[in-house]
Symmetry: C2
Subunit: 696 residues, 2 copies
């Protein structure tokens, strides 16, 4: 938040955010209920739609109140303005650069410039420390180019799509849901002749937009006469467009490949090797950091919806019968904003909940999932994400894949609203099973029993001789069908054969029933000793959108404060030292040999200590130089004002201490490593209110 | 080298390597001379080919001598065997995994498994420290997906190709040069009826293989009756295949994109922004680490020729008129194997040369290029590359692009021969000019003069009125042609007009000569004051193939030693701590509560210190556990044999010291950070020859 924001405005903003959250929740509740599809739920759906409308009206009122408070700028406008201030600073200081800018760029592709690249490297290094090192995860690094067979097994070839319409004359493509959304919004905002019924209908469409099928979307587009926005030409029917970048592996053009849409598949296909590497013990986690690709139809939302991005993903493999976690106690006492399904469905907002309670009450499905939610919370807040603008939202039933046991998103609030930045899902055994089936390689784990266990097992023994006599060339199909019977089918047949001597039996592969007689098959339940259990592990997957986290971090870290003269607002990023792109700047106060020499000594010591820093010898005022370094979030500034000692200034408090030249590197190292706080060193070293402070 | 190698074998190997180098050099010399293309050089080429043959014979003899020394295994076979031992260990310990293995993989794609991934992360972290941090480089991070226009400007769309032939019936593709090479080699090795003339011809083809055009290659394939190796079907004529993975950006299918073949272009297109970010000062360097892609026709050479790989590239921008480097003195005294053009052309081997001399004698074109050669040498040897198997080879004139000023490859010797791992090229102004031309955005630097300089400038002022009267509709073309005259053309015209009053003038765009009279144009040289110089910077580009460096590092670090019982050979990787995937292993000597508790305390302290480690509590002998940790190159093993103190064992010497439990983390940190050597800590702490040592 900009420091100029008044308290009442803050309160209003918060109220607005809460209302908006409630609106979102209602919309999601409507979707959930629709998806449940039960006719009985219909009334409730209608009620929800009504509630939603009421909430939207209320949100509108809150927005107007905020607008009044902020003045002419307005609520949405204030958000927009704040975003512009951040984005301008980010682009001016090269945190980001639109890729291939001199060729007018490509939508949805961005470069990280020097400070952005350093922040990214720092975030990833901390991710490695916090997850891979502390949890002893097995990190892997797989290629982006992926053969089709892998992504067929995962379902991406079939299902990783958005619905698209084409301008029938020019061929320009649009996302079908975006056009319908824009149309409804514009009508609602600008068409003063709209009847209340029509308005209600349009609002309903907006509420259920994400659940419309291609046919339903197409029908609405036709009904409302929506045309291509640029040319007013008619549009094609909506059809699914696969969002993967397709390519061809090798020179023949016959081997289709894709740029991976996520890094997870590379881990799943390696499960067998990783399980052996881990001494055939569960649970264990594998992790991967890497590029992923998504060929968006028409990217919006600037830095949040891009065509290439860095993912950091963890696949934690666990026995489905035991999802407890030995270190859950370490996070059980954490308390933060959680937004479980029930609160969303009842139109309430996220609430402060203790993680231990959420798991013990069953709100969160299991300890392992809970443990990762806690670790993600610690990761994000230690990076500098504001804990008041971070919530964990549970997926509604219709948002989750059918196989998922439970699913929570870490959502961070920024000027675009609540943004999903980390997904934490219990995906059960789905992924490993899919690749087992497709590849024919069993991706399973074994549990050796300390002593063998007795189990009853169905044993079906077809008599090939008798079946051959009866069915000749069809014998093989009948044998296979008999062997494939479920326990119930087999026991029914056994009973029929024992009572009647024969029974009809459907053989799908023959497309007809055959008569099975008693001598053709023996069916029994036999007791066996089993020495181990073979099972497909469950997967708990925390998946981090690194670019989104970084963007939200930029918004949360940004503030402005007046310059000394109060003539202008200065930009500051309050990055914690761990994230800051550069840990300290060294300024010789004035240009002379003595100070330059001292700066060189410090430069060398900082380099040896591995501390990223810059030496700024430009001949501008020290105040200007401080402002320049604040604007890229450098936490400490070393001003060389004598040949023996220097001052170190902390960015946010602007306090200064005096330190001997030979101690500078070690003090900065302690501060940036997290071994000491500013308070610690302020206590130890004399504070300084020197001439250079006056110039700020 | 395997520790079992005898000294005489070593010497022979070295002799063989030298002979092979000489052979390579001759082959390159032949190519260079051919490329020079001068008829006068013909005799010399022939002489070189003869010399080459002689050297090949000699190399053969050396190989036979080595074979005799090693025994049945043989020279090439010994290399092959050594490679197999390394690769087996690498794959078994999951340093590498063939990607998508359960689907039978994809040629040329590999995963890094847990220890490989850690080594890669360590190499990249050291690269960042050694180059980006120490040299204050501007690191950027650009997307892999790249629009066609960028790669048209860089020349990749037109020229990034290999020559390919297709099986005319099945469509299977082959690299044309590979088939011809295989044919010649097989004939030479196996056809005992080969006439000496034919043998000479085949050897000549092998020597000039890389310089053959598509037509020449096609003619040879026809002449020798080479057919598809798998089917014996006839082959198509060779044609160029572009090695970039092609894709389509956005949904229309109209915007062609490629997966970048190098990271450099992302830096070049950002030059303008980066130059401003650097305060409009030269020199400065930008750096990028990222994935690059190359759709090989049929990948060979295992881990060295892959379809996706990590590059780390530096683009150092410098004033073409001043390529001195202030820190060159820091590397001038380094002495290492250099292989300049002259030595290659005269058939000699690489020689130890002092870098300072190589620059002062002009062998290396300039100080900045020399500085980077020195820094690359330090980088590679500090990683653990054997300095005796590392050489800097200068490109021969025919290997270099026409615009390049000078070019050196860091080549590392491994079982595949001398492999190019880092290219260090002075690419002059080529890349920035190419993107300036294509984009219309000037990518230039400015040098402000301290006082304005007087320069003479050509001024051509066409009289549009007179030209319009004379040429009507063609006036514009004539004006443009006049303004485009070079200084010489203009001064010639001026002289002609002054002496004769008129002159003929060719206007290309009109396709004819016109008559220009004196009043139609004024031409003069005028003195002007210039305040700055505007120029395109030169680029010096060190480009690192990270995967190749890592693979060579694995071969250089690998050795075997007998187990205590001498019953088996144990594998060891002698990684320096900076590279080691895991810095230490903690073993409780026997399973009891006291030791487990101590191990937990150490575990926690190591995690806090950010030291990657594993706790091995398996109930196998300590000797086996040491062997297991040696095999992935863990430098230090901590054995918990009491509740108060432990032993630390160094991997290669197998020496042990005794250290208090509370000191373990700090001792290991000092050792792995490079603050202390093993000798330092051995001096400080008591050495230990304990019971667990006996079990090894």
């Amino acid at each position: 938040m900009a420091s100029s924001t008044t308290t009442s405005e803050d309160a209003l903003r918060r109220a607005l955010a809460e209302r908006q959250a409630a609106v979102d929740a209602q919309a999601e509740a409507v979707r959930a209920l629709k998806a449940a599809g039960a006719a009985a739920a219909k009334t409730e759906v209608d009620a929800s739609v009504e509630a939603l409308k009421a909430l939207k009206v209320e949100a509108g009122a809150a927005a107007r109140r905020l607008q009044a408070a902020v003045g002419a700028g307005g609520g949405g406008a204030a958000r927009e303005e704040m975003r512009q201030a951040v984005v301008n600073t980010l682009e001016r200081k090269l945190f980001y650069i639109p890729s291939f800018k001199i060729y007018r760029g490509v939508a949805g592709l961005y470069d990280y410039g020097p400070p952005g690249c350093a922040v990214k490297a720092n975030v990833l290094a901390f991710w490695r420390q916090h997850f891979v090192l502390e949890e002893n995860m097995l990190e892997v690094d797989c290629p982006c180019v992926t053969p089709e067979v892998v992504l067929k097994a995962s379902g991406h070839v079939e299902k990783f799509t958005d619905l698209m319409v084409k301008d029938e004359k020019t061929g320009t493509c649009y996302r079908a849901d975006h056009l319908l959304k824009d149309h409804c919004k514009e009508k609602l905002e600008k068409d003063l002749t709209l009847s209340p019924e029509k308005a209600a209908e349009l609002k309903h469409v907006l509420a259920v937009l994400d659940d419309l099928s291609a046919d339903e979307l197409g029908a609405k587009i036709k009904e409302y006469g929506i045309v291509a926005p640029d040319t007013k030409n008619p549009l094609s029917d909506p059809y699914p467009f696969n969002l993967m970048f397709q390519t061809s592996i090798g020179p023949t053009g016959l081997n289709v490949g894709y740029m991976r849409p996520e890094t997870a598949q590379g881990i799943f296909v390696n499960f067998k090797d990783l399980y052996y590497y881990n001494g055939q013990k569960l649970p264990f986690a594998a992790a991967q950091i890497g590029q992923a690709f998504r060929n968006e139809i028409s990217p919006r939302q600037g830095l949040l919806r891009v065509r290439e991005f860095t993912l950091a993903e963890i696949e934690h493999f666990v026995d489905p019968e035991d999802k407890s976690h030995p270190k859950f106690v370490d996070v059980a006492d954490l308390e933060f904003l959680m937004f479980p399904r029930e609160l969303q469905l009842s139109g309430e907002s996220a609430k402060l909940v203790k993680l231990g309670e959420a798991v013990s009450k069953g709100t969160v499905n299991n300890e392992t999932l809970g443990y990762f939610i806690g670790r993600v919370y610690l990761f994000l807040t230690r990076l500098g994400i504001d804990k008041n603008r971070l919530r964990f939202r549970q997926h509604l039933p219709n948002e989750m894949a059918h196989y998922a046991a439970d699913c929570w998103d870490a959502e961070i609030e920024c000027s675009y609203g609540w943004i999903e930045c980390v997904g934490i899902a219990d995906r059960s055994a789905y992924d490993l099973r899919a690749h087992s089936d497709k590849s024919g390689v069993p991706l399973v784990a074994h549990e050796k029993f300390s002593k063998p266990r007795e189990v009853e097992k169905l044993v079906i023994v077809p008599s090939k001789k008798d079946l051959g006599l009866a069915f000749k060339g069809n014998q093989k199909m009948v044998v296979e069908a008999l062997e494939a019977m479920s326990e119930k089918e087999a026991m029914d047949m056994k009973a029929a054969l024992e009572s009647k001597g024969e029974t009809n039996f459907q053989v799908c592969t023959l497309g007809k029933d055959v008569v099975i007689t008693k001598k053709m098959v023996s069916i029994s339940m036999e007791k066996k000793l089993e020495h181990q259990r073979v099972f497909t592990p469950s997967v708990i997957e925390p998946s981090f959108g690194i670019g989104r986290i970084i963007y939200c971090l930029f918004e949360h870290s940004f503030y402005t404060r007046p310059s000394k003269s109060e003539e202008e607002q200065l930009n500051v990023f309050r990055f914690p030292p761990i994230v800051a792109p550069i840990k300290c700047t060294v300024f010789p106060l004035v240009k002379n040999q003595e100070f330059d020499d001292a700066a060189k000594v410090i430069d060398k010591a900082l380099t040896t200590a591995g501390i990223s820093h810059i030496i700024d010898t430009t001949a501008i005022s020290i105040g200007r130089r401080y402002a320049r370094t604040d604007e890229i979030g450098v936490p400490f500034a070393v001003t060389v004002d004598s040949a023996t000692s220097v001052t170190i200034r902390e960015r946010d408090s602007k306090e200064q201490i005096r330190v001997g030249i030979d101690e500078v590197a070690s003090v900065v190292k302690q501060l940036t490593d997290g071994q000491s706080t500013w308070a610690d060193v302020s206590f130890k070293y004399p504070s300084h209110i020197g001439p250079q402070g006056d110039q700020e």
